[in-house]
Amino acid sequence: MNPPRVGPAVVLSLTALLAGSVPLKRHLAQSAPAAVRETFNPSFALQALPLAFLNHRIAASQWLLLEAILYILKLDFPHYHLAEEDDNHHSHAHAHPHKPGNEIVAWTHGPDGRDLPLTRDQLETLQQRERELTLHMDRYLDIPYFYDLIETAALLDPENRFILAYGQSWVLNPSMAREMVRVLDTVHTHTGHWRPAFDAGWLLLFTLQEPEMAATRFQQALADPAAPAFVRDLLARTFLTVQKYEMAVQFLLAQLHAATDHDMATRLERQLAWTMDLLALNRAARAYHTRHGHPIASLEDLVRDGLLRAVPEDKMGQGYAWDPERQEVFSQTLFNVPTAKEESPSQEKTIRSSSRCR
């Protein structure tokens, strides 16, 4: 038998390939799972080599995470731990442990992995470097690049909570906090999960001191039905922080109507009563100011002036008090009671008078 001619064989094969491929690929495109149908994202491929090979998201994500870790480790951040009292007695490595200024005050890691003792001067030098790196990290590293790596890694593997947690662990100054908020916002937009929005709100509230922006993030987090109850609590408290008492009351009322669980409803009722007390106290304080032309000195002024029958009992905090700086009544908690140094004499007096009231 003569061997077949190649030209007709090629034409025949290609025709068969196309004729068979068209219906088969249409069928496969319809019945394929979403992971197979997904269009390849070239922007990920440029950043993550494993993805360029096999569209493998977890491997690519870990590759980027490793890159981010190695990038930040370039900084050579100082590591040390403070010494125990016994360290000066038991250490043979140090020549003159009892000489003033020569005591071991801390330990650091030597190049061979062993612990190295640090004197007070050496520790101060290390701490100075730590402060410099903390405050001006952007002088030494490309911060947006680091957070871009974190963002892409988190988008590739949204189930891995470590990635965002790692990014947040390096938030050392406001510019890094802003970058991290950007990352968390993007991840929340893509996943719709409550956690990134909540973390962004947390950073905005406590690190960047922007409660209004924080409130929007907590609201976004609450859009996820899986968001736990403390997000709602934090949002209500954030509204209070920004003096949006009316908004907080409305929010809590809406939550109360939607509550199906008895415990949750009881808790919301308590929180609502407390918020309404704060709303009433602040409204009375404003009325006092309008009437007399000056703010109240203590909450008892409101009672004396007939604006309130009595100062209500603070059922969630440690007593209501007047903050003359912010010109508002607030509920004292472990977090917002001014320290002895910061307290002005008038403020101290106000807090005490409020406690007496209770």
């Binding site: 190649v6 068979g20 197979v36 977890i58």
Partner: protein, 257 residues
């Protein structure tokens, strides 16, 4: 054909290709185990071990499918063994198909080894309530089909190019390019001119698409794969293998040795 099949298996064993691939797969399993125990993968042992394991296993299997047959065939031609074989009462078709069957079996053995190693890891160290390892046979089936197409493609490329290094490289290029084909599907529907739509359509329907065999994420995250998809995939495998092997046979029968 049966003799060629057995002879290829023995030759492969002598060349230690399969032995090297099995060793690599076991090393990958160890690497997957190690990476899964790192602190940033805490609580996700099974997912990470399977994910790493499957990813690197696919790379090894890909390298094996691209290089082992080409190296084996070219060595036989260079050493003159092929002339000896073909002087016996056997046809070129039988020779090529026997080789293909042997490499397909070896590819299958490697896939089973990798699957078994990963299953063992997940069972021994992972969360035993996680059902992901039980879905590993799906990976095995898809990978075997992918291997069948890839081996047929490599046989065809070797017969057309006749260059031992160029065929695996072109095979790898086709393999990775096929991962972008889903984008050309969009182009086939949305491109502005009729000509570009035709080009995109030819690209989408005519190019072998290895992306369709990549079911790892479905295996890992329990995305259901319908029976319709499996049957379509099997038919697609048969179509591609028949076309590629048919062409390879046509070229090999006309080839001057």
């Amino acid at each position: 054909m049966r003799n060629i099949f057995w002879y290829t298996l023995i030759e492969n064993q002598r060349a230690r290709f399969t032995f090297a691939a099995v060793s690599l797969i076991l090393a990958i399993a160890a690497l997957a185990h190690y990476s899964s125990t790192l602190n940033y993968n805490a609580g996700r042992y099974t997912l990470t071990a399977l994910s790493f394991g499957l990813y690197f296993t696919r790379l090894i299997l890909l390298a094996y499918a691209l290089f082992a047959p080409v190296l084996g065939l070219s060595r036989e031609i260079e050493s003159g063994t092929l002339f000896l074989i073909l002087s016996k009462p056997t046809t070129r078709s039988h020779y090529l198909l026997g080789k293909y069957a042997a490499f397909l079996l070896l590819y299958g053995i490697l896939t089973v080894t990798a699957t078994f190693a990963l299953f063992f890891l997940a069972f021994a160290f992972g969360d035993r309530t996680d059902p992901a390892p039980l879905r590993l046979p799906l990976f095995l089936a898809a990978e075997w089909m992918s291997g069948a197409v890839l081996l047929a493609l490599v046989f065809l490329l070797y017969q057309s190019l006749r260059a031992p290094l160029a065929s695996p490289l072109l095979g790898a290029a086709i393999f990775f390019t096929s991962y972008f084909l889903e984008s050309s599907r969009e182009g086939a529907q949305q491109a502005p001119s009729a000509f570009s739509r035709l080009v995109y359509s030819l690209l989408y329907y005519g190019f072998p698409n290895f992306r369709l065999f990549n079911v790892e994420r479905s295996v890992l995250y329990e995305a259901p794969i319908s029976f319709a998809y499996w049957s379509g995939l099997a038919a697609y495998t048969l179509l591609l293998c028949s076309v590629f092997l048919g062409l390879a046979l046509a070229l090999f029968r006309r080839r001057e040795l």
